[in-house]
């Protein structure tokens, strides 16, 4: 551990921590553009200049690394005594802002980054200088698609090189380069390539300004209308942590949320665009015999099936741990059998984040203790009086004549289903998923489910209660019982 003093406050930080991170631990924000914890330190933007006692001139906080320091007596002393809020530092920040904005087009009204732009934020906080250049701005390329998912505006770029370092150090695909020199420098795609890798859109998140924008999200929504929920990407078994940005019951985008243990700062593009499934193709209404019916009518029908004798449950790997637990408990109460099975297609797998298993919770089957043996399901199927499916699409050959399908998407419900009930997705409820490494991760609801949908766990627990088997139906109750019964804790 190293000691550091920041604005008079002394704290202890791990050896090798830089002053930007140390200051953050002390609750002090040091403005920066080029520094990013997931990328090698580059030190080019000069926004994080601070005063360090005893140093020759101002120092960049990002490259001031703190190591255990002792005085002659052997006592530990601060590795650096840093001042971030002096007049000199403020003057330096203003000076850097003036340079960064010198050739910036200031086209905020038509820029999709407006509202979450590092230039806007820091100008208001650290700049506020009057524009005093009368020289025409350097003109560069605007609105250039550089790949299937990303658009480049060279004029807005501040050349922090985060995107270049990402393609060099993280994906190692090297599509982006800085070309030219001096104020003619610009980001370019390496000749003969395009920015088309599985993680390309991360450069949009990394870009602190409006130079790299997402072709998917561009001009869909002004960001200040967006609200954000902490969520999980359900596109594969990795379970990358995401910010789910939404408004009016509609999801607009995922952005990766840092989690060292799961996805660090990144996510893949395949997963990123699975947010669309929250908005599209959803099952909104309850149906009986293919006809839209009031919700209560459909649950009445469901209870009849549940009471029909030999009932089977199949819960898919898109269901949450709560859903699986309630299925398990309800089936036990009814003397029924419950399987955890999922026939989702496999996808591409790589040695970074992408997994072939395109479901978020397959590990949940074992965790909850569901039977995952497909053969036993196939053998038992003909003898069942009814089948209840939860968040799973059955292969056509395995549909029971009396099936109740609890589905998030219309396409997952068999046409012949006796009962179809809409259930909530992860964006619409509290839920937890066990990722490929068995890490249990919770999502917070972004908005209410549309139409009649309920979380499957609540829907089934309510039916159990109606049939005389009280089951926990809220988050707290479910986890209390899970902990007690299986030692599975939140």
């Amino acid at each position: 551990m190293a000691l550091v003093t920041i604005n008079g406050q002394t704290l202890e930080v791990p050896d090798g921590t830089n002053v930007v991170e140390a200051a953050a631990l002390a609750g002090v924000d040091i403005p920066h553009y080029c520094y990013h914890p997931g990328l090698p330190i580059d030190g080019n933007c000069r926004m994080c200049l601070v005063e360090v006692e005893g140093a020759r001139g101002p120092q960049i906080a990002c490259n001031t690394l703190l190591r255990t320091t002792r005085n002659k007596e052997g006592d530990e002393v601060p590795a650096a005594v840093v001042k971030t809020e002096t007049d000199a530092v403020r003057q330096m920040r203003q000076g850097v802002m003036e340079f960064l904005l010198l050739n910036h087009p200031i086209d905020c009204p038509v820029c999709d980054q407006a509202g979450e732009c590092g230039l806007q934020d820091y100008y208001m906080e650290h700049g506020k200088h009057d524009h005093r250049s009368v020289v025409p701005k350097v003109e560069k390329v605007k609105a250039q698609p550089i790949g299937p998912n990303v658009i480049l505006d060279q004029e807005r770029c501040i050349l922090c090189s985060r995107c270049v370092r990402f393609t060099r150090e993280v994906t190692k695909t090297h599509e982006l380069v800085i070309a030219g020199r001096g104020d003619k420098s610009r980001i370019e795609v390496f000749p003969g390539t395009e920015l088309d890798n599985d993680y390309a859109t991360n450069v949009v998140d990394l870009c602190p300004v409006g130079a790299l924008t997402s072709r998917d999200f561009r001009f869909k929504k002004r960001v200040w209308f967006l609200k954000t929920a902490s969520s999980i990407c359900t596109g594969c078994s990795r379970g990358c942590n995401v910010h789910l940005d939404h408004d009016g019951g509609k999801a607009y985008r995922y952005r990766p949320r840092a989690n060292e243990a799961v996805n660090r700062w990144w996510m893949c593009d395949r997963g990123r665009f699975t947010y669309k499934a929250i908005n599209e193709g959803r099952q909104r209404d309850a149906k009986v015999g293919g006809q839209v019916v009031p919700f209560a009518k459909a649950t009445q029908e469901l209870r009849q099936l549940l009471g029909s004798g030999k009932v089977g449950f199949v819960v898919g790997a898109h269901a949450s741990l709560e859903d699986m637990a309630v299925v398990k408990w309800l089936s036990a109460a009814l003397g029924a059998r419950a399987w955890g099975l999922d026939w989702s297609e496999q996808g591409k797998e790589d040695d970074f984040l992408m997994k072939a298993d395109l479901t978020p919770n397959r590990q949940g089957f074992a965790l909850i203790g569901l039977d995952s043996d497909e053969t036993s399901f196939r053998e038992a199927l003909p003898g069942l009086t009814a089948l209840v499916t939860v968040a799973v699409a059955l292969p056509s050959g395995l549909v029971h004549a009396r099936t109740a399908a609890l589905v998030t998407h219309a396409a997952a419900a068999p046409e012949s289903a006796a009962v179809v009930l809409p259930i909530a997705m992860h964006a619409e409820r509290h839920a937890a998923y066990a990722n490929v490494d068995g890490i249990i991760q919770h999502v917070e609801p972004a908005f209410e489910p549309a139409g009649d949908a309920l979380p499957a766990s609540a829907l089934l627990a309510l039916q159990g209660a109606g049939m005389g088997y009280p089951l926990p139906f809220d988050r707290e109750g479910v986890w209390k019982r899970l902990d007690a019964e299986r030692g599975v804790t939140a």
Partner: protein
């Protein structure tokens, strides 16, 4: 007068091995490899008082001593032959006329720091000089003075000549290393320093051509002999020396001087002697107005200041300028200092690598402001803008290129302010918006 570097350069075959051998060439290398331990070589260089001739003037022996002997990594010696500072053309002369002295210096330096491979990074525009150097290297390799087994020791050094691609910034040692590695020529953050993390992250010593070419003479004649040339004044007990400017330097005289060229002079002679006796005085019978002492990035000094000064690192520091690369430009009394500074800034704006925001944006902005002042379109607050920009650029970047633009700018503005003010006050500003 002793000539360390240029004693034989007037011979038509001075660049050939046969001639170099005939004047004792490669005997210093033999001595270093067969009868001196690496520490002894470094000791001689320390004793010589030789300071880096690339511009910063760092003591060469001390620099060699920084290379960690015990590091398990390969060590590299890199020669900076990317001579591009405007007004500087001494390394060019050495490579052209005395390439074997450079190679021999490399062979000795490699032994001193334990390098098995050395690189000579040569400016891309030096097309002729590259050919001369390559020919010299082939000669030296064939004669066994460069290669894996030197003087029967079973050890040796391989020398690789690497040609740059035409960027001034690649003369900055860490940008040079990036360029050498095949990366974009951006200066690196320091620390870490090249002595521990240089080429391919290995311990690396970067020396200027003129510095390394002085090494054979020092090994042959001894560090003490070299330190007799020039001026040295010890400091008080435990203090650094008051004056430490020993040896000879190649001074590049250019500008408004009667006999421009490269002159090897002992340190400590006066600027007056250099300009008048060596250079034949200001051309066309005009008067001296100012000089740029050490390449275009060093602050200008007025004629009055220059005529009282001597060629030492210390006298340059006293005048708040720098000895730099020895590129001395003579400026006569008919020169418009605004135009001169504008020309210099065009160079720095063109050569800023663009890595750091202040330099990338600031150099061109400075240039644009100067252009309009020069063209009689200056604005009343332009001089203040220039001063502000210089404050916002200098010392706030990875490398000193920003300072190379701002230090001269401030010196011109300070010492020749009336010329700038006259331009601005007579101006008829034309707005852009």
């Amino acid at each position: 007068m002793t000539k360390v570097l240029t004693a034989h350069v007037d011979h038509p075959d001075s660049h050939r091995l046969a001639h170099y051998r005939s004047v004792g060439g490669y005997e210093a290398a033999r001595k270093a490899w067969t009868s001196m331990a690496p520490a002894e070589i470094i000791g001689e260089v320390r004793a010589s008082g030789l300071r880096g001739r690339g511009g910063a003037g760092f003591p060469t022996g001390m620099k060699w001593g920084f290379i960690p002997v015990s590091s398990p990594k390969p060590k590299y010696l890199v020669i900076n032959a990317d001579e591009s500072e405007p007004g500087t053309f001494k390394d060019r002369l050495l490579i052209e006329r005395n390439p074997h002295a450079v190679l021999e210096g490399v062979v000795i330096g490699a032994r001193a720091i334990g390098a098995k491979r050395a690189y000579i990074y040569i400016r891309g525009e030096f097309a002729t000089q590259v050919k001369v150097l390559e020919q010299a290297l082939v000669e030296a390799e064939e004669a066994g003075f460069v290669g894996p087994d030197l003087f029967g020791t079973g050890e040796g050094v391989e020398i690789v000549i690497h040609r740059g691609a035409g960027a001034y910034i690649c003369g900055e040692e860490t940008a040079l290393l990036n360029s050498l590695e095949g990366r974009r020529g951006y200066p690196r953050l320091k620390p870490p320093f090249p002595a521990t993390n240089g080429a391919w992250d290995c311990p690396t010593c970067v020396n200027n051509v003129e510095t390394i070419a002085a090494i054979p003479w020092i090994i042959t004649h001894g560090g003490a002999a070299y330190s007799q040339i020039g001026v040295f004044e010890p400091g008080e007990e435990g203090k650094p020396p008051k004056v430490d400017s020993r040896g000879t330097r190649l001074m590049c005289l250019s500008g408004h001087v009667a006999r421009p060229g490269v002159y090897e002079v002992p340190l400590g002679i006066s600027f007056r002697e250099l300009i008048e006796d060596y250079g034949g005085g200001v051309w066309k019978g005009r008067k001296l107005k100012a000089i740029i002492p050490g390449g275009s990035s060093t602050p200008v000094i007025t004629a009055d200041e220059a005529m009282d000064a001597v060629l030492t690192y210390e006298d340059c520091a006293r005048l708040k300028t720098m000895f730099g690369s020895g590129g001395l430009m003579v400026i006569d009394d008919e020169t418009c200092m605004v135009s001169l500074l504008t020309v210099l800034l065009r160079f720095y704006a063109h050569e800023s690598c663009g890595q750091c925001s202040p330099c990338r944006e600031g150099t061109d902005w400075l240039y644009q402001v100067l252009v309009r002042i020069r063209d009689g379109k200056g604005r009343p607050d332009d001089l203040q803008t220039i001063r502000d920009l210089c404050v916002n650029m200098e010392g706030r970047t990875v490398c000193p290129l920003a300072a190379a633009a701002t230090m001269p700018t401030i010196s011109y503005l300070t010492k020749f302010l009336p010329e700038f003010e006259a331009k601005v006050s007579a101006a008829q500003p034309v707005g852009v918006h």
